[in-house]
Assembly symmetry: C2
Homo-oligomer: 212 residues x 2
């Protein structure tokens, strides 16, 4: 993923959701305060890395006192923009699209799912999580009315180029891309987060074979 | 993910599947030879990084001549261990498990899916991709007979601790973990690759908000 306007390094941005998750768990477990050393141990980082990361966003915690869990959680909530839901649509309501719609807590990730699109006649008109699946023929009209900023692509690679072009023309600025189509190569001025599940499994296969 | 016996750095391991994907596409498009400079441009890396990465595994390519696409692809195929399929099982045949079983080309990622387990009475006995879903009660017997080395966890976090313990006792050495349960904290001597799709979406939300 490439940020156009990088103040904070991408590796820090990538760690933010992990901090947020760990702090949420601590909060839920009734932990009020935690030292950077203890947080570091739990997260498999170093205490100085944690202090450095969080210093990018302001002054948190006190020397010898640690972080107030709930306060830091709230700060990260705002830093991550969880209070400003980005309007989004999903393209593709097959198994993967379905799994995301059913299991992903979109609102908890700063996203509001407004529309679902698919071209399969068996899916058009069906309702998933209170949203009716529409044909992609309705995409332009929908975008004019609802201005989605994020498109989640759960479509085959072959279908992606034409759809992405239409979405960019409609003002979509960001893609969460499961399609394996290289969006960034063809559209430089949008944000793209690629999810290559296969790469993750393949790296694990490699390591398993190294152990043998 | 942590490797117990790291000769090659994890960041190189993480890039290997990408090289493999790009070379596959080049091969499919009839490209016979490619310079490290051109490959670098396509992949958004530098030519020297590519040479450095590939040098970890031997001598590939020739100065001023570039890489033979098919040959390098074949080499990566062997390096990644795609010729030695790791026996695996999936725990959880809900939407996510289903999506993975239907869409993931396991054999193409070095994995052979041998069993599917779920505790939902509506799923037990169903056949997905020629594999019959079994109750987790059958886990120990199955592991004795089939010795799976990898478990893919598509189960809720709450169900994970007990199941992981049973799987480790059965000789499972690696986990592809969608469950958000922190396996590595409780079992130090297994390989764990966590997939946190929510972190990926949250990082994207952050960047979208930076653009506003």
């Amino acid at each position: 993923m490439a940020s156009k306007d990088t103040q904070i390094s991408m590796s820090v941005v990538r760690r933010l959701p992990r901090y947020y998750r760990f702090l949420y768990d601590l909060k839920e477990n009734g932990v009020v305060r935690i030292s950077s050393r203890e947080l570091a141990e739990r997260m498999g980082l170093t205490a100085s890395q944690i202090r450095q990361d969080l210093n990018c966003f302001g002054e948190f915690g006190q020397q010898g006192y640690g972080y107030l869990v709930e306060q830091l959680y709230e700060e990260l909530y705002h830093i991550l923009g969880m209070d400003r839901l980005t309007p989004a649509i999903i393209l593709g309501a097959g198994n993967l699209g379905h799994a995301l719609i059913n299991h992903m807590n979109f609102a908890g990730k700063g996203v509001r799912l407004d529309g679902i699109f698919d071209d399969a006649p068996t899916l058009i008109g069906k309702t998933i999580h209170d949203i009716t699946v529409q044909s992609t023929d309705a995409l332009e009209t929908f975008c004019t009315n609802h201005s989605p900023k994020l498109a989640i692509l759960c479509i085959p690679k072959e279908a992606a180029p034409r759809l992405v072009e239409r979405l960019v023309a409609c003002g979509v600025k960001a893609f969460w891309n499961f399609s394996h189509y290289d969006i960034a190569m063809h559209h430089q001025d949008v944000l793209v987060e690629n999810v290559h599940l296969g790469d993750s499994l393949m790296a694990l296969s490699y390591l398993i074979n190294q152990e043998k």
